[in-house]
């Protein structure tokens, strides 16, 4: 399962491959994932699709370095993903964020720069420029001083994307980014994810709205505790594939819970 195209990144100019080999992950003493292998690279937008509890979040967390790998390997640019990498950004599920935390939009985005600045060094001009650019790219320029609960759902997602951009991440891992967004915000976020992909970033998102998969993603990983299939959307996102993943075919056009 090697990724066929996209061997260079528009935003840095050399090939960046994420390769997962025979991954097995335990989560709270239960084997959450086994036999997961796939390879993709910057410039792709990958949907993780599978029933609830199929291990989508577990896979994202494992790639982010949050969960120990029981066996197998996760390789980013040819080297094993250590505990963490600045180049891999993890975006939490919306319900896991404390929206009442006394922090502003720019405060969150600035956190993305802490890995570069370290624990003590004041921000350099380059840091400030990266922060400002990230805020602008995500269309948050007028909202910098807002507390994060005073934003729409779509804006809240973009705050965390802006943090990932400030971090200069290549890989964006999103856990159900469309959940809880209204129609307009969903459309807006889809466009944003496409733009980030076109820019040469690798977007991997757990996704459960079957209706919108075709509009957003170009690759699909079908997951149910193990990888059922991985590949280009047209080849993998088929009735047969979904049936193998969900046990039964999800009702056409309906959300699969």
């Amino acid at each position: 399962m090697t990724h066929p195209t996209s061997n260079s990144c528009a935003h840095c100019g050399h090939p960046h491959e994420l390769r997962v080999e025979d991954l097995r992950v335990r989560y709270r003493h239960v084997e959450a994932l086994r036999d997961v292998s796939f390879a993709t690279s910057c410039g792709a937008c990958v949907a993780l699709i599978g029933p609830n509890g199929a291990g989508k979040s577990t896979l994202l967390k494992a790639v982010a370095g949050l969960l120990p790998v029981a066996s197998g390997r996760i390789l980013w640019r040819g080297t094993k993903v250590a505990k963490w990498s600045r180049e891999i950004a993890y975006l939490p599920q919306r319900e896991n964020v404390d929206w009442q935390f006394p922090i502003t939009v720019s405060g969150v985005v600035r956190m993305g720069r802490y890995p570069q600045a370290g624990w003590w060094r004041p921000f350099s001009a380059a840091d400030e420029a990266a922060i400002e650019r990230a805020i602008e790219l995500m269309g948050l320029a007028d909202l910098g001083d807002r507390q994060i609960s005073q934003l729409s759902g779509g804006q809240q997602q973009r705050v965390f994307l802006a943090r990932a951009l400030a971090q200069e991440a290549h890989v964006l891992l999103l856990d159900e980014p469309f959940t809880g967004l209204d129609r307009n915000s969903r459309a807006g976020l889809a466009i944003t994810l496409r733009e980030l992909t076109a820019e040469g970033r690798l977007v991997i998102a757990a996704h459960h709205d079957m209706e919108t998969v075709r509009d957003i993603y170009d690759e699909v990983l079908l997951l149910n505790h193990r990888a059922i299939a991985f590949g280009p959307l047209a080849e993998v996102f088929t009735d047969a594939g979904l049936e193998a993943t969900f046990g039964a075919l999800p009702t056409a056009g309906k959300e699969v819970a």
Partner: protein
Amino acid sequence: MSDWLMEPFRHPFNQRAVLAALLIGLTNGYASAFVVLRKSALKVGSLSHALLPGIAVAILVAGLNHWSVFLGSLFAALLIGLGSLAVSRGSRLDHDSALAILYTAAFSGGIILLRRLGVVQEMEQWLFGNIMGLRNSDLWTNFWISFGALGTLTALHRPLLMTLFDAEVAATLGVPVRTLNYLLLAVLIVVLISSLQAVGCMLALGLLVAPAATVYLLTDSTNAMFWGGSLLGGVAAVCAVLAGWWLNLEQGPAIVLLLGVVFLLAFLFGPKYGLLHRVRQYRGK
């Protein structure tokens, strides 16, 4: 009139009390932001009770001096804190229940032991504080504790803030979340001990929660919460000590009571998140 106002500043034990109140208020106020943002007020409260048996054992073993009290209470709080973690991990009981059992048992043991050590008259001081009884050496201990605690918390401000906001994301950005959590708890215990003589272990929690909680109702800025909490803690503690002198009130309880009143005012009349403002907004809709 001015005699009456200036009276408190004439006596060295009063000057010490005011200085100690300022130090303790500033440190506790700053640290209180971490307690509030971590939503761990009850855990910290349990640990403050765990200080008492530590003091009792320390007096029993090494006699009464401020190093024995400091080390004894620190050790007891760590023991109860880590012990409760061990119990909850080693059984099916949740952490809060384990902590509740351990700290109340230890607290009871502390009371029984203190009563038999012949220091009965000081029992109330350990429970509710006696800021007028501070000596110069106590003031220095407080100073170093404040200095160390504020220094640590300020130096680790970025990683701590990330951990508090979202521990998982912090971990993906290279923050040693678990270590920092333990370190933060240790610093909070030390800060609790620093206020032991002033407000006692029953009331220490108030000083370590109320300041930042009040500012939390007034602002959305993280820095305001830390430094505003610190300022409020310091000013309120000093005012309460002076008011205690002028109005003949117990100083320790006066500090915590004043902080409670200020909190209530913020809750009711806060310009943005105050109850009255929100009711008015709701009616206006």
